[in-house]
Assembly symmetry: C2
């Protein structure tokens, strides 16, 4: 089905009335680099005034939710820590709430502090990650430090700028030796944009383990389903009255292969903004990776509703 | 076509008479760990006495040919350095002889000293590899050291126990920015066997770059063709009288997915021995990865010819 373009007051209003829960990608939607895009901030404020629930959904797993909130504060955008869903948080929440990860097991982390912080927050034990013992180079063919650890029940990979052979070999050993050990990745983004260029992403630092283990990980981040499930499932655990109704939930994003595909695969409606990576042509062409439910020039366009 | 089993004196003799050039995998064929398998050494001696040309073909790219020769010496098996083809040597030879790699360009190495030694041997400049500057961890999101280098004309990956984000990001930058930059891998073995278990192999340490770059490398080692081409092509360069006739060349190995597939893809006959990884069932079953021309219980079985 073709995307419906939102460009009139009536269309904006009907759109806003159709949903209670708004999921937002940030880069290319709310901000670009260190400035807010148009009146995106005003639109968010308006939605809050209407009592809508807001979630910020990012694949960035290197920083904790608290650290992410710092960026919102700097931008002058209202945000509660509980509204931020990073792929690190979603991984921890998914392990805890959906997979009921056993309390006597631990997660071996190939990734940055953001993942460790989120595991701590839900009370899941972990090893690897930023542990200095695992952030070293081993000598050629010296496998003496690649020891067994039957306590590891999950190997969780994300973007890791301290990726090294010891971590890969340990993760490989746990996956092979520990029965039922879960192979999980925060996200498989092959690259991520920064400083006006792109660098190897979480997919690249997950790839070595996927290669030697010969299996693909369970992926939590966009566009995969667990991220959405963790948003939907996390709330009932603490606050049953706020369980999300997918029919009243919409994902807002600028990328077809992550944001829009995330919504489509998860069975929720999507709004594409044209202030980021993809263009109208990208979803109008044959074989488009995903087609949004709605498209609008920019998130700030909806801010006009506030003055009605 | 079914494999022909060699089990009689006549069959052994006909086999030996059919070829001038014998290519041998080592692990599981000539030795296992640190002992020679059966009378494999005697068979090699016999072939030498007949004036056959012998080559040892291994995907191990971490050590130079000279360092590999040390293992042969320790085992008491005659061997000339020029007879040893590692995937590191073959990569250097292929760059030099087949691809005519420009003298003013250099190779960025994601791998061990074996690769550097072989590039040195053919006079190809290189960076990365064991350079201490590239064997460090960068701080999170600190890309200041990932600088351009237009001189890099090839990124060559192999097993690297010092794999790190800086190397991956530099390799990625060269491949993206340098026109015609070749993406090459010594081999894509996902694991390698040692100490009675398996560890992540050259494929695992090549995977991050393949993931972020979004393309597969040109693979030199078994089972790919460049390794064989480098054996066939290297000799005419220095000694035209010894150009190898593929019809008179046979590959001897224990693994279907590397050794036997290597021969099949390269258009030479193959002899499979049953003293290593694969069994007769593995190639007799439907959908076998490769089927050898001949099969024999062990390489040492042919040694009986010496006493005739």
């Amino acid at each position: 089905m073709a995307a419906r373009t939102l460009s009139t007051l009536d269309a904006y209003k009907e759109f806003v009335d159709s949903y209670d829960n708004f999921l937002f990608d940030c880069d290319g939607v709310i901000w670009e680099g260190d400035h807010v895009i148009g009146k995106a901030g005003d639109t968010l404020q308006y939605l809050r005034k209407l009592g809508k629930r807001i979630f910020f959904v990012t694949n960035n797993a290197t920083r904790s939710r608290a650290s992410n909130k710092g960026k919102f504060d700097k931008m002058g955008i209202d945000c509660d820590v509980d509204e931020i869903f990073t792929s690190a948080y979603a991984s921890a929440a998914y392990l805890k709430t959906v997979l009921h990860f056993p309390a006597d097991k631990k997660v071996y982390v190939i990734g940055e502090k953001g993942i460790e912080d989120e595991l701590d927050a839900v009370g899941i034990k972990h090893s690897g990650g930023t542990d200095p013992d695992d952030n070293v180079f081993i000598d050629l063919m010296d496998f003496s430090s690649i020891t067994a650890d039957p306590e590891v029940g999950c190997v969780l990979c994300g973007l890791d700028m301290h990726i090294n052979y010891k971590k890969i070999a340990k993760g490989f050993r746990y996956l092979r030796e520990n029965e039922g050990c879960i192979f999980m990745a925060t996200n498989l983004d092959s690259t991520f944009p920064t400083h006006g260029t792109v660098y190897p992403g979480g997919g690249a630092t997950t790839a070595p383990l996927a290669c030697c283990f010969g299996k693909d990980p369970l992926v939590v981040g966009k566009p995969e389903a667990p991220m959405l499930e963790s948003i939907v499932q996390t709330n009932p655990a603490t606050d049953p009255s706020h369980q999300l109704d997918k029919k009243r939930t919409v994902m807002v994003g600028d990328r077809l292969d992550t944001d829009i595909k995330f919504g489509v695969q998860g069975g929720i409606d999507t709004l594409m903004v044209l202030t980021g990576v993809n263009t109208r042509q990208d979803f109008e062409k044959a074989g488009a990776v995903a087609v949004p439910t709605y498209v609008v020039d920019g998130l700030g366009d909806l801010a006009v509703l506030a003055s009605q």
